[in-house]
């Protein structure tokens, strides 16, 4: 656009007034100047016609209905946060924020009725998986530690027996892998495995130990953060990493990034 004034108005000024004009909020001398500029300027005239047409197209778009289960999913997802907070607060020493009490309880209770059957189903393969993984890791470490699996084959494979085998050999295993994280992983798997196979035991306090407390500090900066679509091309994904979705939510959503 040229900076040349036409009919007492420059193209930049025309651009600034265009949206108001299309809203019908221009009047008097300003409107007259605007009109005559649009008639005489080869750039602004067509721009106005196109903007007007585009506005009409956009206005023709009807609001879409939200998917039928969206509201439910939102409530379930947000109450998932509640139960997590409750759990972590309990772990931290039984202190639940004063704001939460009643409404955390009520939401959790409400969500519990909705979610618990889902969780119950999800737990089965998870524990089956844990069992498999624990046994697999254990057998690898045992053979590496010099225990032949063929010797174990005829041994009692009841959970308690496996537990005993584990404790008997873990000393040796630790010597091999003293500084390797793997050991901790095996130990936590076996702990999980024990938990899964002994349901009569009281639930351990650290059931949610896989999840670390969420870092909320970034969210407070949220509103002041300047964002644009092109920045961060070669930045780490820090700014774009959302909080870990709660377990509940990720179960029924199919997250895609295309």
């Amino acid at each position: 656009m040229s900076g040349q004034p036409k009919n007492g108005m420059q193209c930049a000024e025309f651009d600034a007034l265009l949206s108001d004009a299309l809203d019908g909020n221009l009047s008097g001398q300003k409107f007259d100047n605007f009109q005559s500029h649009s008639r005489s300027c080869a750039v602004c005239g067509p721009l106005m016609a196109e903007a007007e047409a585009g506005r009409r197209y956009l206005k023709s778009l009807e609001p879409v209905e939200a998917p039928p289960h969206l509201l439910e999913n939102i409530l379930v997802a947000t109450s998932g946060i509640d139960s997590f907070r409750l759990a972590s607060a309990a772990r931290a020493g039984g202190q639940i924020s004063s704001v939460g009490d009643t409404w955390f309880d009520r939401l959790q209770e409400w969500a519990g009725t909705l979610v618990s059957p889902v969780i119950a189903v999800a737990r089965q393969p998870r524990f089956a998986m844990s069992f498999g993984m624990a046994f697999f890791s254990l057998s690898i470490s045992l053979s590496l530690a010099g225990v032949k699996l063929s010797n174990v084959r005829h041994a009692d494979l009841r959970p308690s027996a496996i537990k005993r085998t584990y404790y008997e050999t873990s000393g040796r295993v630790v010597k091999y892998y003293e500084n390797i994280r793997f050991v901790y992983e095996i130990e936590s798997r076996v702990r999980e495995f024990k938990r899964a196979t002994t349901p009569a035991e009281p639930a351990p306090q650290d059931q949610d130990k896989g999840k670390s407390p969420k870092n909320n500090s970034s969210e407070h900066q949220e509103q002041n953060q300047q964002r644009n679509y092109s920045q961060g091309e070669n930045q780490p994904m820090l700014a774009s990493s959302p909080n870990d979705p709660p377990v509940v939510m990720s179960m029924d959503t199919n997250r895609r990034y295309s």
Partner: protein, 199 residues
């Protein structure tokens, strides 16, 4: 403003521990947020995921929302917009990685929505179902640059005023107006190319 007062009241009740208030907030705003997301990302699935993310973020930060500072809707829209930016950057990065992995994907999902806009030249007469026009406009919207797209969505689909939009996008009002002009004009050009005729 009625709406703002109601929102402020709901937020206050919510922070005070009223679960019903949160339910009402979700009830009142989910459709609007879903619409913003849907018009911006183009796909219903992504819009649904993003809407959930918006509410999770809202829920976590509700206590930090300052009732005095600004309208609730502006705050909610800002959260939505920030997540849309994140989503856009993430999917752009994914698309780049994808194109490195596979030269040309036959998979339809791998193709950006912008290239799926129907190219059938249809006469814009009254008999063309408004639904089809809607689909075409929606498809064309996806072809706009994100800066222009968000501006026209907030103005023409969400009826926000320029000042609110400027707050959400954190740019001056003049920039907002200019983006709206360019967004509308660009959309009209895209659709005129599709229809090969001025509506």
């Amino acid at each position: 403003m009625e709406d703002a007062q109601l929102a402020a009241m709901l937020v206050r009740r919510c922070v005070a521990g009223d679960a019903a208030a949160w339910e009402e907030i979700a009830q009142r705003y989910h459709r609007r947020i879903y619409n913003i997301c849907y018009r911006f990302v183009g796909s219903a699935d992504d819009a649904q995921d993003l809407t959930q993310e918006v509410f999770i973020k809202m829920y976590r930060t509700l206590k930090s929302y300052d009732l005095e500072r600004g309208a609730f809707m502006t705050w909610v829209t800002t959260i939505t917009r920030n997540l849309l930016v994140d989503h856009f950057r993430k999917s752009k990065q994914d698309r780049m990685t994808e194109s490195l992995d596979t030269a040309a994907s036959e998979h339809e999902d791998g193709m950006p929505l912008s290239e799926r806009i129907p190219d059938k030249a249809q006469p814009p007469d009254a008999q063309v179902q408004s639904r089809e026009v809607g689909q075409t406009v929606h498809g064309a919207l996806q072809k706009l640059s994100p800066e222009l797209r968000e501006a026209v969505i907030l103005r023409d689909l969400q009826d926000m005023d320029y000042k609110e939009i400027a707050t959400v996008l954190k740019v001056p009002e003049g920039t907002v107006k200019s983006r709206i002009n360019r967004g509308r004009a660009e959309l009209a050009r895209l659709l005129q190319r599709t229809y090969k005729q001025v509506m």
